[in-house]
Subunit: 209 residues, 2 copies
Amino acid sequence: MRIVIPLYEGFTALDAVGPYEVFRLVPGAEVVFAGPEPGPVRDAPGHLALVADVALSAIDSCDVLLVPGGPATRRLVHDDALTGWIRRVHATTAWTTSVCTGALLLGATGMLQGLRATTHWAAADVLEGFGASYTAERVVFQGKIVTAAGVSSGIDMALALAERLAGRTVAEAIQLAIEYDPRPPFDSGSLTKAPQKVKDFVESGGLRR
Amino acid sequence: MRIVIPLYEGFTALDAVGPYEVFRLVPGAEVVFAGPEPGPVRDAPGHLALVADVALSAIDSCDVLLVPGGPATRRLVHDDALTGWIRRVHATTAWTTSVCTGALLLGATGMLQGLRATTHWAAADVLEGFGASYTAERVVFQGKIVTAAGVSSGIDMALALAERLAGRTVAEAIQLAIEYDPRPPFDSGSLTKAPQKVKDFVESGGLRR
């Protein structure tokens, strides 16, 4: 089973690495990081590069496609080379998935037209521009297309998909192996839970990106 | 504020990248990935390499040290060059932290002697061999030393530390930015919660590593 994660300059690292850590433990899975060309690909703030071992052009099919998000997606929805590659590979997959604003890249191919989908809360309007119905859920399955909400949600999505790929016992075993028993110290992880002053702080650009 | 994450061949990627995605959003933080030498460093299964931008030998101090875990730690506890580096840098930090079996590397320096600490559940006995008292908690603060449990726990630890570094509003804003409102599809993320057949499957080596 080949699982491909395409990288591009300006992606968000956890979008890719959260699901990766789940998928790599699925028996029989080979996870491949791909990029514009083989070599390091920098994330959005630029502190971290992941290595793409294969060029996108060398991949024309896979069993599971996982498209991570990142600030660069706002621009890349207009990149016909990337969205064309996603569209072609999607035609071959058993599952096509996204994390965070990776959903915008799926949207740009047209594949979300008329479907429910999720993305980072701050990108809901952009997603709807591609004909999808934004759904404020953590993970949304629509046929073989699976979208996950912002950044950290990819872990939840990958576990849900692991069950479908390898069964419940394996998926629960992976959860135990990565000791995923989350205990956030606060409860501000969604727009409906975060205090107003926290939302104001984020929306005023208080966090650098 | 300089935050350093040392990488070594055979680390676990999410141990490093989970906290990274939190720390990089702390205002004023510079996160540096370091390695034996600058260049790609492969994780445990070898599907993924992260790039170390700086050699460990070029770093003699930092504000926050985060030591990720991985299968290689069982061997690296005997690597005097690495543990010596950790010991020297620890003398300069405001916070010294570990995720998963990164705690074994802290333990090998002697710094956990007589302290409560946590690590991946499967490494509890090894941790106790370094004079620490294994504590089955998600995150354990002991003075400036902070240990986190297995793999995914680094996200919880980093958010708790972000509050101490930058205040509650900033930490909650980071949680919102990474949409960390976890919804695991199962509830088998700890030894006390996983069904017996899942524990048996993991302990019999059912998951490749």
